[in-house]
Every structure is written in structure tokens, then in C-alpha cells.
Amino acid sequence: MKLAPQSVPYRALQKVSGFVVVAFFVVNSNDWGILPAAGAGGAILLVALAYEIAYYQRFEYELTDDTFDISSGVISRREREIPYRRIQNVDVSQGVIQRALGLAAVDLETAGGSSTEGSIRFVKPDEATRLRRELQRRKSAASSDISETTGDIDETETAERDEFGPAEEELFTISPGELALVGALSFDGRLIGLLMFLSSGSVPVLSGFIPDASAIALTATAIVAVGALFLVSWIIGAGVAFSNYYGFRLSQAGDELRYERGLFRRYSGSIPTEKIQTLMITDNPAKRALGYASLSIETAGYAPGQSGEQGSQAAVPIATTDRVYRLAHEVESFGTPTFSRPPKRIRWRYVIQYTIVVSLLVGIAFAVNWFVAADLPWFGPIVLLLAVPPAAHLKWKHRGYWLGDDHLLTRNGFWSRTVTVVPYYRIQTVIDSRTVFQRRWNVATIVADTAGSSSLTGTSAAAVDFEVEEAVELRETLQNRLQSAVASHRSRRGGFEWFEDDVDETTETAEKTERAEPTEQPGAVESESGETAEDDAETTPDVPDDGVIRPNFSVNERDYSEPAELIDTGKNAVDRFPSDADVAHRRDEPEVQAERGDEQSEREPEAAPESDSEQDDSEREDEAASDDSDREDEETPDDSDREDEAASDDSDR
């Protein structure tokens, strides 16, 4: 399918507009006159139009059975296929001009990469909505295909769903009062900096007008100026927040969340609930006092704040605290959290930290005072020491974590308090870190990393400054709960999937050992290998409750910092201790020694002697690689025996 035709002039103008501004200045600074300038502008516009027409003709998207295909590109052409199952979010946005022209931009996000995977600029709004619906429908069909082995039932199901569409249940609509509150409470500190920077340019100009103003007048103007800066930045912040969240609406339809918002630029989109990684409930002292909080929903697709000031697309900007928690429970049903705090003694650590900061400030003030040789009250910051104990207490008080049935909740921060909800199932890695100072206090920090992208800014779920024993226990617990969560997800999906499909992709050496595994029942070939006596004891397969025998994940004792030992049989090299096999270390096995001795005498001179352990590793690797491919074709009886043994050993486990 094609883009909307009116996207051609819009895109061309969009491209050229930046250039026009530059051209304007160029024309102004030279005296070419208006005619050549207009001519040049027209020529550029024509080129842009031609390019956009070509782009329009090349750009095509298509909804196939299991992928969304986009082929695009004028100069370098690109064909892209996005599997429906991998699509994380679908976002539709419309700017003011785009709305007037009847255009909408569609963005598809997948988990990989930092940029948007599929961006369609632009289609008609109806088409955008249709695309979103259709993608969602196909996506849920694709993922339920996985869970249900019978596809036919599914077909009818999705057909039905298509006719009626999933019922949309409204979760949250912003009220005018809340919208006003969002505006009032969104004070952006960065704006002050920007305004300060901009207005600092006018200071020399202004000071020219007030050469002999008194110190009091100067101070007064300074205070007024700072006040004005605050006011202006506050109004700008409020305006931005107001236009961003105007008409915010969050609803649930089937297994996806839908949102809509924006005054000038309309945003709408859908987030599949199964792709949600973490929830974050944030508040600050002002919001806490008024009983409000905000909620943001994070997926692996995009980072909240990725697109500048817009923030998370599906964030509930503000709502009463209990409503936020009800909403959060709607999405992820965690229980009522009771946070456990770090040990009380850790408050002393914060006291020390803050005292160091205060003394640094005093030091800087003193240095400045000394440097400019003025008589400033450099000891002023000492007053801040009074605030240190309450600050330390508050910092401690607002830290904590809680282990729910299916979720880990962590809480951090006083000024911007964030409660992060991480389902165990979403944990990627668990990191336990202890700095030098933390070690002195015998505490540790546990971070549960998820695929959500905002963790880069340091907002991933972290239990900070807990007793080492508690931290280690927490780490183990998280790891175990992740495993059981994955297991239960798998059994809920009902499928017991072996990885036959993947075997083809694996390399040849690995395939050899794996071939035996999936098909044979563990324990079926025990008797064939000689050393299974003790293996039996530990690896007797017991059938779990769900009747599915899973492979034993026990791993070998191989030390990978040592090279694999090669046994030379004259024709080819064999990994004596294959990584996959549970072969015990048999360094002094006589027959191998003897065999090696025999073979060595017959070997060609250029082959390096095997016994030389300091032999160049890369050379040995090459040798192994080339011998490996030989092995495929001609296997000596010796080799195949050993390999069988290896394979059977492996399947035993």
C-alpha cells in the first residue's frame, strides 16, 4: 500500500523549510536581489519535490501473513520485514499542519535498537487507525498461534474478534482540574538554565543604561529578574505540559492499552500488555502533600523521555495516589507493598556523605573569597549542616524494597520518589555491586535490570544499601523467582517446545552432540557408557508434576581458561574434552597415551608436536578447525566410538 498523496508536497516543504531560513540570511547578507534568490529557492523546491515523488513511488508497505513489510528508499533501497510478534508499540501522531492536511505519522517500535524500526510518513488518519487496529489484531493472532497448537480455532476466533473488535474499557481520563494541576506542578528546572543563558546576553546591554545605580537598586533588579525567570519558566513548563496532556485518555482494549493525548499535536497509540516491562510511580513532596502521584508504563520499545520533553507516551501525568495504584494494579496486579528499609545505621553514612558535600561547598566558598580577596561570608554554607541529619533520615526513610508474589518493588528518592514495579518475569540480569565505601558499611546494592530503556538514566529497580547477607539473599531470591516465573509462563503457554528448528542453525560441531539430545529420553542409553555409575545417582530423571521431562541443565567442570586438549590420531584432531560431554579428566589413560605415541611417529613434520603445551594457540585453533571439517567426511572407527560415547554421556545428564 502507498502513502497518502498529499504527503509529497508536505514532505518536500518540510525538507526545504530549514534551507529557506538559511537562504534568507544568505540573501540578506549578499545583495543578489530577490529574483535570483527566489529562482534558487524554486529550483531547490523542485528538486525536493522530484525526490519526494520518487520516495512516494518507492515507498510501499504491506501486511503479509506474519510480517509487516516496508520497502522504501530512493537512492539506497531497503526492504524491511517486521514480524508481528516482535512489534512492541504502535504510535500515531498528528501535528497541527498535518491535521489540517489530513495526514498522520505511524511509528512501529520493536525491542531491538534505539531508533524506531518502522516509520511511515505519512498516511491518512483513517488509514493510520486501520493500520494500528490491524497490526494489533494480527499481533495477537500471531502470539496466540504460539500458545495454541491448533491454528484453526484461532482463525475463527480472530475473525470473530475482528468483527466486533475488543471492547474498550476506559481506565483513565484526565479531568480539567487534574490538567491544571499537571501544568501547575510541572516546573522544569532546566528551563531556568536556558533562560538564564539567553538573558545573560542582555546584561551588558542593560548595564550600559544603569551606570550609576546604587547597590540596593542592583540587588532589587536582580531579585526581580530571578523572580521573573522563575515565573516565565514555570509558565512555559505549564504550557508545554498542558498541550502535551490535553485530552489524555488511557483505555484497555483486549490485551492492549491505548492512549490518546495532545492539544496541538495529537498522539495516540497502543501498547500490548504482554510487552510491558516495568511500571514507575513517581511523586515529589508537593504531590505527596496533595495526595497525588504519576504513573509511567515502560516497554522495551522506547525510552520514556527518548523524544525530549514528551516523556513516556503512556504515562498518567497525575492522579490521586490511590487511583494511580488502582491503575497500576489494573496493569500489573501486585499486592499491597510493605517496604523494608535499609538498616538504620546507614543513616550515618548519609550524614557523612552530606557533611562532606557541605564542607566541600565551604571550601569552594573560601577559595573564591580568598581568590577575589573580598570579605565575603565564606562560612555561610555551614548553616546547611543543620539540614544534614533530617536529609539523611529522609533519604533512608524513602528507600526500600518489597518482594511480592510476582513482582519486585523498589523505592528510592525523597525529592523525586520513584516506586518501580518489576515483574520477576521481566528481570534480565541481577547485579550486586558494592563500592569501597559500601564495603566499609557492610552493605550492598542490588539492581534488577530489565529491558526497559530508561534504566540508562539510572532509574532501574535498585535496592540500595542493604545488609550484605540480605542483599545476597535478595539476589538469589530474584534469580530463583525469575526461573520459576519463566517456567510457569512456559507451562501456561501450554507448549513444550523442543528446539528442532534451531538445530539447523547451529554449527556442525555442536549439532553432533545435540542431535542425540532432543529425541532420546534421558537415561535411555545409560548402559552403553562405562562411567555412568555415579552419574546415575545424581541424574536419575524424575518426572515432574506436569509430566514433562526437561533436560538436565547441569554443566561440566571444564576450565575454559585452558585450551581444549587435542588428541592426534594422525588424520584428524578431536577435542579430547568436548565442552558438551561429561567426560571425566583422563589425562593418564594408558591407551590414549599409547595411541598418541604411535601416531606421533607417523606424523608429517610440519605439524607441531602435541605435547608442547606452549604451542601457539592460534595455530592450534586453525589446525583444529581444518581437521574438524575433515572429520565430517572420513571418520576413523576410533573417533566415532569416542563421539558416540560423548553423545551418550551427554544425553544421560
Binding site: A111, I146, K275, A300, Y425, I427, Q428, T429, V430, I431, D432, S433, R434, T435, V436, R439, V447, D449, T450, A451, S453, S454, S455, L456, S460, R475, L478, Q479, L482, Q483, V486, H489, E497, F499, D502, T506, T509, A510, E514, P551, F553, V555, N556, E557, R558, D559, Y560, S561, E562, P563, A564, D575, S579, D580, D616, D617, S618, R620, E621, A624
Partner: protein
């Protein structure tokens, strides 16, 4: 598998890195000496201090580093100043690389990089493996990851 330490030769790689850092660090001092602003010992001392610190760090780092493939996770313990213990569940492994940088090739070592979809510990590097060891470890992790079924890696 029990806890594995790295190949001792990895210290060479780290010490070499420390030496390069020491040279880079002493360059401005050398420049100052060249223009007659500093006495001759200044760059030597600056470089020497960095070198000693770097070598100590390398030795301690080697002592500290260990990794282990447990039943369902890869477990790493490392870090001198900040001790970090990372647990990478095998289900979460996206892909595994084994790689050899120029310095590593020089001393005949290789390293293995494990990628997850996470944002913070997205890639975990295990340095100080022999080339065969690295590719074996890669194969082993790949096998275990496939077994653990990374169907839902995100």
C-alpha cells in the same frame, strides 16, 4: 561448574593497558618539561605513579575475577574498587560473541561477550580465555541458552 578464574596471562593485557595509560598521562608533563616549566622528574613520577597504580589494579583485578556457569545462570564476580556480582539467567541470553582484540591476539588470548536485552548489563565480557576456551565457552553458553529456551528473552 566450579568457579573459574581467568588465564594468568590476562594480567599482561591489563598491565599493557596500564602502561599505555601511564604514557598518555605523562605526556602533558613531558610537554611542560620540554618547554622548561617542570623539572625532568615530573613526567617520570607522574607516569610511574599511574603505572604502579595500574599494575596493582591489574593484579588485584585478576585475583578478583571469577565466573561460573551455574544450573540456570551465568555468574560473574569482579571489580576491585566497586565489587560487582552479576547474575545472567541463561534464558535471557540473546547472543554470544567470542572476540580477540589486537593486544589479546598478541598474548594469545581471547574473550567472550554475552549479550542480554537488559539496558544496564546488556553486554557482559569475560576476558582472559584461551582462543579455544573462548569458542568452547561460546558454544557451551549457546547450547545452554538454546536449552533454556530463549523464546521470551524480552
Amino acid at each position: 561448574m566450579t568457579e573459574q578464574s581467568l588465564h594468568p596471562r590476562v594480567r599482561l593485557v591489563w598491565i599493557l593497558r596500564a602502561m599505555i595509560l601511564a604514557v598518555v598521562f605523562s605526556l602533558p608533563f613531558a610537554g611542560a618539561f620540554y618547554f622548561g616549566r617542570l623539572p625532568v622528574w615530573a613526567p617520570v613520577v607522574a607516569g610511574g605513579v599511574v603505572l604502579v597504580l595500574g599494575v596493582t589494579h591489574a593484579v588485584l583485578k585478576y585475583r578478583r575475577w571469577s565466573y561460573e556457569i551455574r544450573e540456570d545462570a551465568l555468574y560473574l564476580d569482579r571489580g576491585v574498587i566497586t565489587q560487582v556480582r552479576t547474575t545472567v539467567p541463561l534464558v535471557r541470553i540473546q547472543h554470544v560473541d567470542s572476540r580477540r582484540g589486537p593486544v589479546e591476539r598478541g598474548v594469545g588470548l581471547a574473550s567472550c561477550v554475552v549479550y542480554t536485552a537488559g539496558s544496564r548489563g546488556a553486554d557482559v565480557q569475560i576476558p582472559g580465555l584461551t582462543p579455544n576456551g573462548a569458542s568452547d565457552l561460546r558454544e557451551e553458553l549457546k547450547r545452554l541458552a538454546i536449552r533454556a529456551d530463549g523464546e521470551d528473552a524480552v
